[in-house]
């Protein structure tokens, strides 16, 4: 999965629930450069909808893909600007 993108950094928010996956994703994205891709690994099923909503409502980020596998929710977020 991750081989499809050049993942710059991985954020592990396993075991954390709302709002931490979003808040930490935002913090990690802030530290990256335009063009970088952040991989977010979560166990919170709500992160599927939340990360999508956050990416839609936030300038400068693009949600590339969301993968659900073995109770793990992995999100690929690109910083576009």
């Amino acid at each position: 999965m991750s081989s499809e993108y050049q993942t710059t950094e991985t954020l592990d928010v396993k075991g954390q629930s709302c709002p931490m996956p979003i808040v930490k994703t935002k913090q990690s994205i802030d530290d990256l450069e335009a063009g970088d891709v952040l991989e977010v690994v979560a166990t919170d099923s709500g992160s599927m909808s939340d990360i999508q909503g956050w990416a839609d409502g936030t300038d400068g980020v693009e949600l590339l893909e969301q993968v659900e596998e073995d109770d793990l929710y992995t999100h690929y977020v690109k910083k576009t600007e």
Partner: protein, 196 residues
């Protein structure tokens, strides 16, 4: 031919005036462009104001969760804490917020039992354990996160005095010295206003 010279002279005079006018116009256009850019940002930038009035353990969560999430969206967020909501920002009291066992029909015990001494403490412990097990952030973590991400956590000055609190009792970064007028001003400027 004879009219050429005067015409040229008039043109020169005109172009002198034009240069100054042109400069003034350029400056005006730049000014307008800047203010338009500011207006554009204003449209994109959402603002939310929450008024937090409750200080029980369960009611401390919703305003802080919404505030920290809104900050992650890049919104400007103000949370105005008043009455019992002030305890959320009180460094000592925020670590010891209680859940009421009475008056909540979802509690596993009837009100008559819930009213017994020690039941609030027990209910709080149960909730605390659930929160730990679920990986839900603590109140303190959410306050730190909110402040870090630029949320303006405000403590109502009137309530500070009413409760005999000191301005130093609150977390570093909490805004004090504000009242209802400040809260209303933020609400008026906000896209979203919530009373919790």
């Amino acid at each position: 031919m004879s009219t050429d010279n005067p015409t040229t002279a008039v043109d020169d005079a005109d172009s002198d005036v034009d240069a100054a006018e042109l400069q003034a116009l350029r400056e005006r256009v730049e000014e307008l462009e800047e203010s338009m850019a500011a207006v554009d940002t204003g449209d994109d930038q959402k603002k939310m104001t929450i008024v937090a009035t409750q200080g029980s353990f369960d009611m401390a969560y919703p305003p802080l969760i919404l505030a920290s999430t809104a900050a992650a969206f890049g919104w400007e967020v103000v949370v105005f804490h008043t009455f019992w909501g002030l305890d959320i920002l009180h460094e000592e009291k925020s670590k010891d917020l209680k859940l009421s066992a009475v008056g909540n029909p979802n509690m596993p015990v009837p009100n008559a039992v819930a009213a017994l001494p020690g039941m609030d403490k027990m209910a709080t412990k149960m909730m605390q354990k659930k929160i730990d097990d679920n990986g839900t952030a603590t109140i303190e973590e959410l306050i730190d996160l909110s402040l870090e991400s630029g949320v303006d956590l405000q403590a109502c000055q009137m309530t500070i005095e009413l409760m005999d609190y000191d301005e130093d009792d609150f977390y570093d970064g909490v805004t004090t010295g504000v009242g209802a007028a400040t809260a209303l001003q933020h609400m008026a400027e906000s896209d979203i206003q919530l009373l919790v």
